[in-house]
Symmetry: C2
Subunit: 328 residues, 2 copies
């Protein structure tokens, strides 16, 4: 699309109304203005997705691309124990994307935005030469002193993870025709986990109410996220392969890659963290009542910042990244 249509385009993506009354002015001026809640701290993050690096136009619909670009940022807010409030979208548009496709991207974001009750309050629309580049900034809130840091792991902590892991990488493998699903249901489940990840805001909110917890979202892979916690907290983390929560769908692929996907695949956007044994008991009960799966996968000890995996009788040091797929 050519950028001389910018004004019309902005009119089409501009929300007709806002969910939050705290918005003083949204899209349509030089900047957005809002009135933050007094009792809360503000949380902010930004992520960029680049065509041919993070997504391929022939593998994902515009709707899915928009959905995911917003989801990965909401996930970052969840990983701080916060909830999202506002978002801004900066989009660099190459000539080969038409207006309908671009509106599809915003539709995908809209679905997720309405689900999480967040408002689009600003952005930028520019031209690019070759690839579409989508940058989403998300704001959120968290109660003062209740945000969850990577540096809050302590010796004796339980290491936990929400949901199941490895599904996203398995889904990508199916999309790239490197793996075959045994049924359409399995294929749909795993590819949806890759294309439409669910940010774990609800779990993050429960975790933020604990006395203390370290927390990360799984964007780069479990091994990488645990290394970040271990480094930030200067603690040693041990996890057990047999405890890793793999979905029946992932297991049904019967692939030798399944643990690689779980450890290094990333993009599951589940939460991984640590907390005291006592807090973990409370957390498990509370998430169970919300029908959110949470699994103990290991423990934290004093010792040099490192992550180890126990596989049968073997202990393997987990580095930040094990293998790379087409994404960075």
């Amino acid at each position: 699309m050519r950028i001389h249509d910018e004004f019309d385009f902005i009119q089409k993506i501009k929300p007709q109304s806002h969910i939050h009354r705290e918005i003083v002015t949204g899209i349509g001026d030089d900047a957005a203005v809002f009135s933050p809640e007094h009792e809360m701290n503000q949380v902010i993050c930004v992520d960029t997705m680049v065509e041919e690096v993070h997504f391929l136009k022939n593998l994902s619909t515009p709707f899915e691309i928009g959905y995911k670009a917003l989801a990965v940022n909401i996930s970052d807010i969840a990983a701080m124990g916060g909830f999202p409030t506002y978002f801004l979208v900066s989009i660099a548009i190459p000539p080969n994307w038409n207006e309908q496709e671009l509106l599809g991207i915003y539709e995908g974001m809209k679905e997720l935005a309405s689900q999480f009750k967040i408002d689009l309050i600003g952005g930028d629309t520019v031209s690019s030469k070759n690839q579409l580049v989508l940058t989403v900034t998300v704001m959120g809130e968290v109660e003062k002193k209740k945000h969850c840091l990577r540096s809050d792991a302590r010796a004796g902590d339980v290491v936990f993870v929400t949901g199941t892991i490895g599904d996203s990488a398995a889904g990508l493998s199916i999309l790239l025709n490197k793996s075959t699903a045994s049924s359409d249901e399995v294929k749909l489940f795993l590819t949806s986990r890759h294309k439409k990840p669910k940010p774990q805001v609800k779990a993050g909110r429960v975790i933020s109410k604990l006395e203390r917890a370290s927390l990360n979202d799984i964007s780069d892979g479990l091994a990488s996220e645990l290394n970040e916690i271990a480094e930030a907290s200067t603690k040693s983390i041990t996890i057990y392969e047999e405890l890793l929560p793999l979905s029946p769908e992932l297991l049904s692929l019967n692939s030798e890659e399944r643990f690689n996907w779980a450890l290094y695949g990333g993009e599951d956007f589940e939460l991984v963290g640590t907390t005291s044994i006592e807090s973990f008991k409370r957390l498990s009960r509370q998430l169970e009542s919300e029908l959110i799966k949470i699994t103990k996968i290991g423990q934290v000890t004093d010792g040099p910042a490192s992550v180890h995996l126990v596989r049968q009788n073997e202990t393997i040091k987990l580095e930040k990244s094990g293998y790379n797929h087409f994404k960075r």
Copy 2:
């Protein structure tokens, strides 16, 4: 640069200390957390600059590119009457940019950040295929109910502009070898106006203290910005060519393009707005004492949303854009 160096790179760009004590956590976790001032509203905006669309590697140094990417966003905060507080940088890096160049971009932002006392609190670092894409999100604050909107023009208002206009477009014309400066001083002045624009935060702060003012920053050109004010306020604006503040350096080029540059060139990042005759008198006195130039260039009347230019005995309707250079 390849992205496997991401961690090292982030360590290099991470600030050693913060100016604002309200930062709870900056770079290094999933999102940044800060504690906003109670009395203030939050202001937020985002802008993207794309290589070969908004800048050319052979015309600008990395330092200048970084400087400008931050400047254009600070200018948006200024255009709301606010002051900037924090910023986040999302950068998509193609293989042909090396680390030294990339650090140069951050150095350029650092200079401006230290000038405006704002902190880098987050961002994202990803790969791109061909062009460098730089997205900057800036947060700021403005006193409640004191932000300046485009929709606040009233009949009888004075139309004003800060500084001089057209310099940036003239500077670009010199950079592209389409115009020739009579001296090195003139060349340096005009090209600096294009490459290192000064966001008019101080003027914006004084304007925000007035009883009422409409306000825009000149990014897309005077004609475009005035049309935005006219449309948002549903008012008619008339300006006078002979009143337009052109710098001696611009005039020295003796180019027939000078009024085109002033009206349509854009990227001057001066402020343009309207306020009552009485408020304008006060504003002029206050800015004069701060050595900031401000010029009355026309007036607001009731009538259909439109902008007209009086040129000698002729009245010309000014459309949003008149001509395009290599930028969007």
